[in-house]
């Protein structure tokens, strides 16, 4: 009797095993941004969310770790074709209790492992039940533990607007995943999810953030609503949409829904469901190019229609989107670095936000020569084909677009698709 009892006693899964399951289930979520929020906790509490975003470690895949990124549960009722946690997929299931998540977060934060928590979840009994449990976790963290660190909370599509509001009051950032770039694909691959259930909370959050800003202008004491804004994520390569459709969607989300960021996540083949394309590996280069194009939308003053068109619906594999644009627009170049304004400088391939600012700061003192560009730390490898300095071309480069294309290609070792280690059969036999 005693023996049976002790066996029963160790049967429930411990926190370590759950952490293994629920962190590996969360890792395909691309968002690691912890910046954009400044939260000072009450003097009795502890922690602050910093503006600049701090990485606490870098994983073996080279990605920044800044948040404890986990699912509350991977025990899903839904059956989305592209997801490892879909109900028809035989994986080990686990669910954290609220206390387990709270203890992990606090234990990690006190040791400076993390900036805070990123909590998502599979759909348990219902969207409302799931969201309620997630909100409970952050409520304990904020209210009972006075936790002032960063919190990113996923909104479960289909939950009540009351829960969405509560989530926004406790979290720094909330996000609703848009999942797939079109409604048709959503219907095909995630039949239990409705477009409305995704867009409604997104719009609600957008409105709440906007009205909260007004309230906070009138009274600094008004509670903050998702001060780090909202983001979303979509899966790339599981459905047939082209890059032009995707970029236009993102552009609309930035403009209409007031989103802070759209994350793109290359589809990792997890099932042989015949609704899904057969991929040998995740489309990483495509994901990378989309992120670059997204930067052009957010920080460089480009529109989706400038980057792509119906005749040219996919991003160039060989060149980054800005270089590709520059090669199509020889009439824009060369740019004179001692006169061009900030927006024009930003359009030069190889000149980013930092370099453009440095050029403008330095030319206040004297005209910048080619040597001067090196001194202020602007990398000339690519830019030199597109600029002049006091009307002199750089290093006498030819500015014929075709030549430039060739020259660039010669120097282009860095952008070959991220390579994959090939394992030759038989190599490990002997």
């Amino acid at each position: 009797m005693y023996i049976i009892l002790s066996v029963l006693y160790i049967l429930p899964m411990n926190t370590l095993e759950k952490l293994q399951i629920l962190s590996s289930a969360a890792r395909y979520d691309a968002s690691c941004a912890s910046s954009g929020s400044k939260r000072e906790s009450a003097s009795a509490g502890f922690g602050n969310a910093s503006q600049s975003g701090i990485c606490h470690s870098w994983a073996d895949d080279g990605r920044c770790i800044s948040l404890l990124k986990i699912l509350l549960s991977n025990d899903c009722r839904y059956d989305c074709a592209y997801c490892v946690n879909r109900s028809s997929h035989p994986v080990q299931r686990a669910s954290f209790t609220a206390k387990e998540v709270v203890d992990l977060t606090l234990g990690f934060y006190r040791r400076n492992y993390i900036e805070g928590l990123f909590l998502s979840s599979a759909v348990m009994q219902s969207p409302d039940v799931t969201m309620e449990r997630m909100v409970r976790v952050v409520e304990v963290l904020r209210r009972e533990e006075q936790f002032g660190g960063y919190i990113h909370l996923k909104i479960i599509p289909g939950c009540s607007s009351e829960l969405v509001r509560k989530a926004g009051l406790y979290a720094d950032r909330v996000s609703v995943n848009i999942e797939l770039p079109s409604q048709v694909s959503l219907q095909r691959l995630a039949p239990q999810k409705e477009k409305a259930a995704i867009l409604e909370p997104m719009a609600l959050v957008g409105r709440e953030i906007a009205s909260n800003l007004v309230e906070r202008q009138m009274s600094r004491k008004a509670p903050r609503f998702a001060p780090a804004g909202q983001s979303t994520q979509m899966i790339i390569g599981a459905s047939p949409e082209n890059d032009f459709q995707i970029l236009r969607l993102s552009q609309g989300l930035y403009k209409k829904m007031n989103l802070k960021r759209v994350y793109y996540s290359a589809y990792v083949p997890v099932s042989d469901d015949n609704r899904l394309p057969v991929l040998t590996s995740p489309p990483l280069l495509r994901e990378h190019r989309l992120y670059q194009a997204d930067w052009l939308l957010r920080f460089y003053g480009f529109s989706a229609e400038e980057i792509l068109s119906d005749d040219l619906p996919f991003l160039d594999e060989t060149f980054d989107p800005k270089t590709a644009w520059a090669l199509r627009h020889p009439e824009f170049f060369p740019v004179e670095i001692n006169r061009a304004d900030y927006a024009t400088l930003l359009r030069v391939p190889g000149i980013g936000v930092t370099s453009a600012r440095r050029i403008i700061a330095a030319r206040r003192f004297s005209a910048i020569t080619p040597e001067g560009m090196k001194k202020i730390g602007v990398v000339m490898k690519r830019a030199k084909y597109f600029i002049t300095s006091t009307e002199r071309a750089f290093e006498k480069v030819d500015q014929n677009p075709l030549r430039i294309r060739q020259q660039l290609l010669l120097g282009e070792v860095a952008v070959v698709p991220p390579s994959r280690q090939l394992v030759l059969p038989g190599l490990y036999l002997s």
């Binding site: 962190s23 502890f46 990485c55 206040r364």
Partner: protein, 244 residues
């Protein structure tokens, strides 16, 4: 070239700069070096004058706050032999205000700004990479060996972030320590050091973190090169997740 000497302390350095800016018509034409580096050295020795040094810094904070911050970061680098560059930088900062940091074509500005930038980068990095361990008495303890002398700015960072717990920072190379205990921050040096006993829970939490660290990586996207360039190996010694 006329040469000035100072005694190696930062008070004396700023006193000398303040003196030169007032007395010399062309401060960019004089040299400023530490005393005692050569056997027969010639030059005017300027004694430390704390009041004057502080006054100079206050004036700079008003005239060019960004430059004052740049100099604070520069001082964390504990660089020797760059006093003349610093002198020129300060004089340019008074002349141009905060715009001076953009004057990167000037060698002195470039020297000071690039060293300050490196210090700032390590400071930012250490805010993330510092690891605390829980001790038996419930206080937390972190060891580090940064290239720059970061203990002051790091301590004031953690004083807000981890204000609800008592903690120590220890710079192993410089043998300096900071201690936050019951709402008081103190600095000191440590001559003898013994390794305090860890709390009972500590190993369990470390194991949880190591597990999380390993599972969060996408196995088919391993990229040790990128990992090391973001997180150079010199920092691994004190990283909990790298001790397995």
């Amino acid at each position: 070239m006329k040469r000035y000497l100072y005694d190696g302390t930062s008070e004396s350095l700023f006193s000398a700069i303040s003196w030169i800016l007032e007395e010399e018509a062309e401060p960019e034409k004089v040299l400023l070096t530490e005393q005692g580096l050569e056997l027969f050295e010639e030059g005017f020795f300027i004694k430390a004058n704390t009041g004057q040094a502080e006054l100079l810094f206050q004036r700079l904070c008003q005239r060019a706050p960004d430059s004052a911050y740049t100099i604070t970061l520069f001082m964390l680098a504990e660089k020797r032999g760059m006093e003349s560059s610093l002198l020129r930088y300060v004089s340019l900062a008074f002349a141009h205000g905060d715009k001076v940091n953009g004057y990167l074509t000037h060698p002195a500005v470039r020297d000071i700004v690039s060293i300050a930038k490196r210090a700032g980068r390590e400071l930012h990095r250490m805010k993330g990479l510092l690891r605390f361990e829980e001790l038996q008495d419930g206080a937390y303890f972190a060891k580090m060996e940064p290239d720059h002398n970061l203990i002051q700015p790091l301590a004031s960072w953690f004083r807000t972030r981890l204000r609800a717990q008592n903690w120590f920072l220890y710079d192993v190379k410089r043998r300096t320590a900071a201690c936050w205990s019951n709402g008081m921050l103190q600095f000191g040096t440590i001559d003898k050091f013994y390794i305090p006993a860890l709390s009972e829970d500590e190993k369990r939490v470390q194991l949880l973190w190591q597990t999380f660290f390993r599972t969060i990586a996408l196995q088919d996207r391993k990229n040790p090169g990128l990992q090391k360039s973001n997180m150079p190996m010199k920092y691994w010694k004190y990283l909990t997740e790298m001790q397995t």
